[in-house]
Symmetry: none
Subunit: 412 residues, 2 copies
């Protein structure tokens, strides 16, 4: 096409969809709050509702984001482990196996005294993880990365690995377990894992950090306890599949992990972008717009509505919606013209149920020159009055790429 | 079912979908033109919007028509070549390999002097093609058909053919190329092709037509230059799949080719049905109705809106829409009662972009006895207010067959 290519911004308001709240006279938080700025995008754009996976399916944030990025989540999703590892910066590739780990306290017979090493945290964990670098076992490269508090992630990379091994973590105060292969092909992985656990004990048991903790009467963190093996999925990188450079602006580890595994660049955010209800949405929006100066596609995630939904706090969700509307005002006043902007959610987290539901989420797609539709209000039903009808999550990206003049023609 | 079977007419207004035109105050050409006769079908029928392939995907006319005929375009589409050959009457079947050809001018060393033989045309090409009949090479049947001007199509039929061969046409004034097999299994095809090119030279070099051209100082057409090998797709014939006799009323070669390959009878049209903006739509509609006296299903294609879209001429598209509405008046006044009539498009060709887009197309299905819906106006958004919601192209035929009392029950 001769027309110029536009940039695409996805604003994913995590868990935004809700159900009728008795306290709000049967309205949802979105219906109860006036959102003049998001509604501006609704009135200029086209709206509809979206089943992020398929009708009635309750998506996780991980499967939902895969779908929104255009992947078939049912084909590529291999479990939560790899995305959690990726979320703390351990982005693997096909064939790699990731584990979630705890720092634990064991005696010299490897009986567990504390499965969380007294909820140890940085900077102690930072120093301890440093002692676990440069480990290579039977041709398998071993990488450890610290998470929050007593948590860490472990990545194995090498030929012939398998995720079909049992945990070393007994999930209890018992003896550390020998990992066992669940199929013969997983024997190497179990062997490497057991050897790694042994090495973690050897290297940490007399580490200066632990000597200091011993003196202070704190539980030592003298072993790493891996669990939840997961293979990295075989995902074709988003930029390669779609011919767009792409970045993610998100505060939450798992979202960063999913985007990282899909080949998006994960933008570092200042501490004010917390991933919680107290996050600075205007700052995040500003960073998204700055990022779009260098990228064709940006996915921005606001985690706050989901947190309120899980906490079953409709009033707090309304507050978050007001903040999101102020961020929409900033966007509207500062965005360039050649943009496709999407307001949607990865799933519903109703404040009446406290967990994800399979309700379709509201969707608005805005760019200049769209055919006017009747939708005027950004909400679960307000959007249903628009021209987009009811679509599926993995169709959103092709629709936006077409509007951004970035699609290949299929046929002649 | 005890009720009687109805006949089905698809009116495909090629490229009819559009986007908001600034010159029309943000309306589309369809929204800006009053179409009382098409709207009569909207008000009596049911409407919706349709993703001809899937949401956001930009269809070609070929893949779109395959989808509208109920096929999975992603499975059966093998490229444009076979449909172009079919469009000039060379309708092959699975295993056949088709080529596009030029008549060219070569010297006795097969150096190309003119790749288009002075843009030779009928009746010269008609006579020359006649000299290339009855050719059989190594068990492969060879058929040549003339196209427009210097163009022709070549069809090879026989066991063990492959489309994985290089062109004989050098696409330049160079020596005619030896076709080479790209895989060992294509050796026979390349050999047959090279032998055919040699025979075309032998049979045409002293042909009376060329002797006359020589005398008149015109470039001789003494060789055929094949290019763009393509295998005919494996398509189950439409009449067999759907239990309906079927015909196509279209002016454009490629559409005729697609319908022909799918097993529809291609109706010959008088010159007034041009396939362009100047086509006589009332005449074409009359022919479609006459054809329906002998067939269960007719696909009629108006190419004109697509041409206007590609030319980025919204005003001309509005003119074409007015003509289509007059044809709808003729249809309404002359059609029999037992009909299912569909007004839709194969894709959008917005006059703002000048090429196909993935926007959903407007759809109206009419037959007597339908449930009343709110759609009143045939347009991209007017139809979205109807009862059909948002469907996919390959679902249209089953919906119409059901309304025509022609579907088998699935289950008991």
């Amino acid at each position: 096409m001769a027309v110029s290519k536009k940039r695409i911004l996805f604003i994913i308001m995590d868990g935004m969809g809700d159900r009728a709240c008795p306290e709000l006279g049967g309205k949802t938080p979105l219906q109860a709050v006036d959102t003049p700025n998001i509604d501006w995008f609704v009135s200029k754009g086209n709206s509809g509702i979206m089943d992020v996976i398929s009708p009635g399916i309750r998506p996780g944030s991980d499967t939902a984001h895969l779908s929104l990025l255009g992947y078939n989540a049912k084909e590529v999703y291999t479990g939560r482990g790899p995305f959690e590892a990726a979320g703390i910066g351990l982005i693997g590739r096909k064939g790699d196996v990731a584990f979630r780990c705890n720092f634990g306290t064991v005696d010299s017979d490897l009986n567990i005294l504390d499965r969380r090493a007294g909820r140890i945290k940085a900077p102690d964990t930072t120093e301890l993880v440093r002692s676990l670098s440069d480990i290579m076992i039977k041709g398998v490269e071993v990488t450890v990365r610290e998470g929050t508090e007593h948590r860490a992630a472990l990545l194995l990379r090498g030929p012939g690995l398998s995720s079909l091994v049992t945990d070393a973590d007994p999930h209890d105060t018992a003896k550390v377990l020998e990992s066992k292969p669940l199929v013969p092909e997983a024997a190497l992985t179990a062997e490497v894992l057991n050897e790694f656990v042994r090495i973690s004990y050897e290297r940490m048991k007399d580490h200066p950090v632990n000597r200091k903790r011993r003196e202070a009467g704190l539980p030592e963190a003298n072993i790493l306890l891996p669990r939840g093996a997961g293979s990295f999925p075989d995902i074709d990188p988003f930029p390669q599949v779609n011919g767009m450079s792409a970045a993610c602006v998100a505060g939450v580890g798992m979202i960063k992990g999913i985007c990282g595994v899909c080949g998006l660049d994960v933008i570092d955010l200042p501490p004010a972008c917390t991933g919680g209800s107290d996050t600075d949405m205007i700052l995040k929006t500003r960073i998204a717009l700055e990022t779009l100066e260098h990228y064709d596609f940006v996915l921005m995630n606001f985690k706050a509505p989901d947190v309120c939904g899980h906490d079953m706090m409709y009033a707090k969700k309304m507050e978050v919606i007001r903040k999101a509307d102020v961020a929409a005002k900033y966007l509207r006043e500062n965005m360039p013209e050649d943009m496709v902007v999407v307001f949607t959610a990865d799933h519903s987290t109703p404040s009446t149920t406290g967990d994800h539901t399979g309700d379709p989420v509201p969707l608005t797609i805005y760019t200049d020159g769209m055919i006017q539709d009747d939708a005027e209000e950004y909400s679960e039903y307000g959007c249903a009055k628009g021209r987009l009808g009811r679509i599926r999550g993995h169709d959103l990206l092709p629709i936006c790429m077409d509007l951004a003049n970035r699609s290949e023609k299929f046929g002649a």
